[in-house]
């Protein structure tokens, strides 16, 4: 599929299949999905609802079990990787606990994983700074805007310093202006932390702006129709979106989406 063989693969899927048994009969959520994600890549999954992009992310996170094929994360099965706390997961909703302050929410995974109190405090301070929320640690979630809440949830996913960050439409519920701002911040954060990021989105500009690799998927059955290695440089100011290279990549993504599901767009 792709040829960046110089770096080491973090996530490898081969002929991955997943069929859900429902009351209305089986649903083929993933069919013959093959993909290699290398260390430090920013990979976006884009496609219409039902194309299996979230399901694939959940398979990597071992929140869903494939029914066929192989999938390795850091060279282990996804479940072993989960038990080794290989990834941080950011959901569509921030899902902060309303009874915990922002700092205590970020501390939650650290408490569960048994870090010492001193280390917890230190890490919370570091990740809150990383997402620009210094000084908000003592606030309760309802005192923060939606964008700030989502940043806190990213800090929570970063707190235990997993190499992989899986994000399922994290900015889907936010308005365009906030989303632009968070996209910029996310790129800066990625550059600083050198994490491998899997990012599910509905938005073509978002996928093109953020990713080093864009995976275009289509539904019924959920499959990969195109994998685009982005020619854009690592440094990306927001106005890169007006350059011909950007527009060309966006065009190819749009073509891929159109080819994948005929007329149902």
């Amino acid at each position: 599929m792709n040829t960046e063989s110089t770096t080491q693969p973090v996530i490898e899927a081969r002929q991955l299949d997943l069929t859900f048994q429902t009351n209305d009969g089986p649903i083929h959520a993933l069919k013959d999905v093959g993909l290699t994600i290398n260390k430090g890549e920013f990979v976006s999954f884009i496609g219409p609802s039902g194309c299996g992009k979230t399901t694939f992310l959940r398979c990597i996170a071992a929140l869903e079990a494939p029914t066929g094929g192989t999938l390795t994360v850091n060279g282990m099965t996804p479940d072993e990787a989960r038990r080794n706390r290989a990834y941080g997961y950011v959901f569509q909703a921030a899902g902060l606990y309303p009874w915990r302050t922002i700092a205590k929410n970020v501390k939650l995974p650290l408490e569960i994983m048994g870090y010492s109190a001193a280390e917890q405090a230190e890490r919370v301070r570091n990740v809150l700074e990383l997402v620009d929320l210094e000084g908000f640690g003592g606030k309760f979630p309802w005192q923060l805007s939606g964008g700030m809440q989502q940043r806190a949830s990213i800090a929570r996913a970063l707190a235990f310093d997993a190499d992989i960050l899986l994000m399922d439409e994290p900015f889907g519920a936010l308005d365009e202006i906030v989303r632009d701002h968070l996209n910029e911040q996310l790129l800066a954060l990625w550059a600083r932390t050198e994490k491998t990021i899997g990012f599910v989105t509905h938005s073509i500009p978002e996928a093109v702006y953020l990713s080093t690799k864009i995976v275009v998927m289509s539904p019924r059955p959920g499959r990969i129709t195109d994998v685009i290695d982005s020619p854009l440089p690592k440094e990306r100011p927001l106005d890169i979106r007006d350059t011909p290279e950007f527009i060309e990549v966006a065009h190819r993504v749009r073509e891929g989406l159109r080819a994948g599901h005929g007329d149902d767009v």
Binding site: G88, Y89, G95, Y97, W99, L108, I112, W142, F160
Partner: protein, 305 residues
């Protein structure tokens, strides 16, 4: 201010209706007394009066209306009679007196609190079991529901007799009946509360490889707090009813239930009504107290704004 006015209007309407209801309810008794006292009553014969409607009698003998609010043993006592009785049996009586409503309320309250504690503890334990075990969900929940379909008035004497036969009496049987009524709302509310975290929250913990215990203490239990307080408010009112019902079949000599019973034996309607009001006031205070606790706990948890 507008709200205060609206509330006072409702209360005034209730009081007016109550006074109005006293007239037809008590008119026959009043006319009999008036006749004995030598007053001229229409129609003069008690036999004729028996078959007449209360409204008709009232219209014919309007002079007797004030007396319907001042009888010794009215069918329906007037509000001020109940208020006077309440005042005399609380403020004017020593707490140690057997005629003090505070003494009787305390007897009932102690059984209520003990029963409420047992019921709440049992309810929370059952809810935790039901949420964590499919077997308990399927086997305990139906019995909990069935237990509440049996009228407590039928069950209470049996509980007292059974416990008495194994040598338990006094406050415990009352507390058991009270616990029997109060555990159910706690079970239902806590099961709902412990199950309130959504799939995303549970996935999040899964991604941290959290244990079930961690999931319980860090997510399920705190998430259930608002549900718990709602259940506790229902539970404590049910506890009080249970304690009063528990006093009825034993012929207890102390407690609000005993006051109700004694009042009905001797036709002391004023005493019955004042005991009823004492119970209602007590329940309102208990629920109000729980409301205050709820506000302060949820505020401290950051869940109330």
């Amino acid at each position: 201010m507008k709200q205060v006015f609206a509330i006072l209007t409702v209360i005034a309407a209730i009081v007016v209706l109550w006074y109005a209801a006293c007239v037809p309810m008590n008119i026959k008794g009043v006319l009999t007394e008036q006749e004995r006292a030598g007053a001229e009553v229409q129609p003069p014969s008690a036999k004729d009066r028996r078959d007449m409607s209360e409204i008709g009698l009232t219209l014919d003998n309007s002079f007797a209306i004030p007396a319907t609010w001042a009888q010794d043993r009215p069918r329906l006592p007037a509000p001020h009679q109940v208020a006077v009785e309440l005042w005399e049996t609380t403020v004017l009586k020593k707490i140690t007196s057997k005629r003090s409503l505070i003494y009787h309320a305390w007897v009932t309250l102690s059984a209520t609190m003990l029963g409420f504690a047992i019921g709440t503890g049992l309810g929370i334990l059952l809810a935790v079991g039901i949420v964590h075990s499919r077997v308990m969900d399927l086997s305990v929940m139906p019995w909990a529901i069935v237990s509440q379909t049996i009228p407590i008035i039928a069950l209470a004497p049996m509980i007292i007799v059974v416990l008495y036969s194994v040598g338990i009496q006094g406050i415990i049987p009352k507390a058991v009946i009270s616990a029997y009524l109060s555990f159910f709302p706690v079970v239902v509310g806590m099961v709902k509360g412990l199950r309130s975290p959504d799939a995303m929250q549970l996935d999040l913990l899964q991604s941290y490889n959290a244990t079930r215990g961690q999931g319980f203490w860090k997510l399920r239990l705190p998430a259930s707090m608002p549900y718990l307080f709602t259940s506790l408010k229902i539970g404590i009112a049910a506890s009080l009813v249970g304690a009063i019902v528990g006093e009825l079949p034993t012929g207890a000599v102390a407690g609000l239930g005993a006051r109700l019973l004694a009042g009905s034996y001797y036709g002391q309607t004023v005493q019955i009504w004042s005991a009823l009001f004492a119970a209602a006031i007590l329940a309102a205070c208990l629920v109000g107290l729980l409301g205050l606790m709820e506000r302060s706990v949820l505020k401290r948890m950051g869940m109330a704004q």
